[in-house]
């Protein structure tokens, strides 16, 4: 297996210094080239799990291996796209995308590489713009190009389209699918949208909350493009909804409890 997540636990201390389980006994194997969504309600630790894979967060116990190597810190073999584009505002689009290439490539080669990926997200004409001159959707596409430019084996995406409007989001879904088909990256995609996960991924990991555990591992084998198979998509959606309903109720009742305690 390409990515191996072994017995990963993550605990935080809350305000009264009591340990809170964010992730409990997470075990997951992912094949190379697979598009995997991690789906769950807010607070289920799905972003924390992604952050651990990225090497930005440490586990309390357990470890993650990619291609046989244990992850201890962030690395260029894993490109990350966040919910906010996280572009550097003082750099142009081109400079942003060449940012990770500065050390290992000559300027000209870096720019050629960057241009290739910017064209892939259809922003080849915007290389000398600054981030503030672009719309949210365009910024996110630059962020995707930036992550791809390092040519990582794995692409980690943390609700990358969560802050965008519906139309932009569905357009970017199409682009992401194309990029995935073209580059054959292994993609770990965190989302709380059931339909988004069904539309995009080969496999959906459904997570539950308090503590964050894996509830279901669902294989989606609907042929692409999936827009033409609406019924199959709806079937899976119903199936997932059943599992998530309980979890969402749990979140809601806990929030009510919290509100009532004041």
């Amino acid at each position: 297996m390409f990515i191996e997540i072994n017995d990963v636990n993550k605990q935080y201390s809350d305000k009264e210094n009591r340990p809170v389980d964010v992730l409990k006994d997470i075990n997951l194997s992912i094949e190379k080239g697979q598009f995997v969504s991690i789906l769950g309600p807010s607070g289920c630790g799905k972003s924390t799990l992604l952050s651990i894979v990225a090497g930005l967060t440490k586990t309390t116990s357990g470890h993650i291996q990619i291609d046989g190597k244990t992850i201890t810190k962030p690395g260029k073999d894993r490109g990350m796209v966040f919910q906010q584009a996280a572009l550097f505002p003082w750099l142009t689009v081109m400079e942003n995308v060449t940012f990770p290439l500065k050390k290992e490539m000559k300027k000209k080669d870096a720019e050629e590489t960057a241009l290739k990926y910017l064209q892939m997200v259809q922003l080849g004409k915007y290389i000398s713009h600054y981030p503030h001159e672009l719309s949210g959707g365009m910024q996110q596409r630059v962020a995707i190009a930036r992550a791809l430019a390092m040519n990582p084996e794995t692409l980690l995406m943390d609700e990358p389209f969560g802050a965008l409007d519906e139309q932009t989001r569905s357009r970017l879904h199409g682009q992401l699918e194309n990029i995935w088909t073209e580059t054959k990256k292994t993609i770990l995609f965190v989302t709380h949208s059931i339909s988004e996960s069904i539309k995009l991924s080969d496999r959906i990991i459904v997570m539950g909350t308090k503590p964050g555990i894996i509830l279901q591992d669902i294989t989606v084998d609907i042929p692409r493009p999936r827009e033409e198979h609406k019924n199959e998509m709806l079937e899976i959606e119903d199936h997932i909804m059943k599992y998530l309903k309980k979890e969402i109720d749990k979140v809601v009742s806990e929030e009510l409890q919290y509100a009532n305690s004041y």
């Binding site: 966040f82 996280a86 003082w90 940012f99 930036r146 390092m150």
Partner: protein, 251 residues
């Protein structure tokens, strides 16, 4: 109504009141000279070049003092922003020092350097350093963790992370810090010059006062205020605005 028009009307009213009041002798010219006599004193000062030498001398000191204070302030600010221990110890001292008017340092400066150029520049440096340091510190502390995380996933760390991400991300604070440092250094310089030897705007101000030349006193004060306003509005506020826009900090 546009700001410019409001300002013109406002200043016209003040000027009219001032000139008419002086001509009707509402107050004695030795207490407050008329606008026209202030104006002619300024013209005379520029014609015999004394005011020009004063301006050059003052700006020379300011340039040296401000440049040094920006460098030292930036370095102290980076130290405070990066090291928690430094922030908890040295940070408290800097905060205390910032509330000390820099002219208070002049007696010490005179003891160390004598009543000369060096003492005035020393006071000017102290005027700008602390406010620059505190802004630099805030800038470093306020760098979005998202930028740092993003940079780490792209292989940046250590000094590379600092020079390519943390420092550029805090540029808006560097600009604000420089703007305040300029204003504080300018004040400190004028105060220092009042007590030192010439040439220099502050020196001429005191000299004129000693000789009862109220027209020159008011004229020099107007120059000091006008320079302060022009530099702030036309240099620093413009840079600040464009940086705020580019860094996406507009609310």
């Amino acid at each position: 109504m546009q700001t410019a028009i409001k300002r013109i009307i406002f200043f016209a009213a003040i000027i009219a009141f001032w000139e008419i009041g002086s001509r009707l002798e509402f107050w004695h010219p030795l207490i407050f000279p008329s606008l026209s006599s202030v104006f002619s004193a300024l013209v005379e000062g520029f014609q015999d070049k004394t005011l020009i030498y004063d301006l050059i001398a003052s700006f020379k000191r300011l340039a040296v003092g401000l440049a040094i204070s920006l460098v030292i302030g930036t370095l102290i600010g980076i130290l405070l922003g990066k090291s928690k221990t430094a922030d908890e110890t040295l940070g408290a001292v800097i905060l205390a020092l910032q509330s000390v008017p820099s002219i208070v340092w002049l007696p010490i400066a005179i003891m160390w350097f004598g009543l000369n150029e060096k003492a005035v520049i020393f006071v000017t440096i102290l005027g700008g350093t602390f406010v620059m340091a505190l802004n630099m510190r805030t800038g470093i502390k306020n760098v979005s963790p998202l930028y740092i995380k993003a940079a780490q996933t792209m292989g940046a760390n250590g000094i590379d992370l600092f020079t390519r991400v943390i420092f550029p991300a805090s540029i808006p604070y560097v600009v604000t810090g420089s703007r305040l440092a300029w204003a504080f250094a300018w004040r400190a310089l004028m105060a220092g010059e009042l007590l030192s030897t010439g040439p220099g705007l502050g020196y001429t101000l005191r000299y004129a006062s000693d000789f009862g030349r109220m027209d020159i006193v008011i004229g020099v004060m107007i120059i000091i205020g006008a320079i302060g306003m022009i530099v702030d509005q036309f240099i620093f506020q413009r840079i600040e605005k464009s940086v705020i826009k580019k860094w996406g900090l507009e609310s």
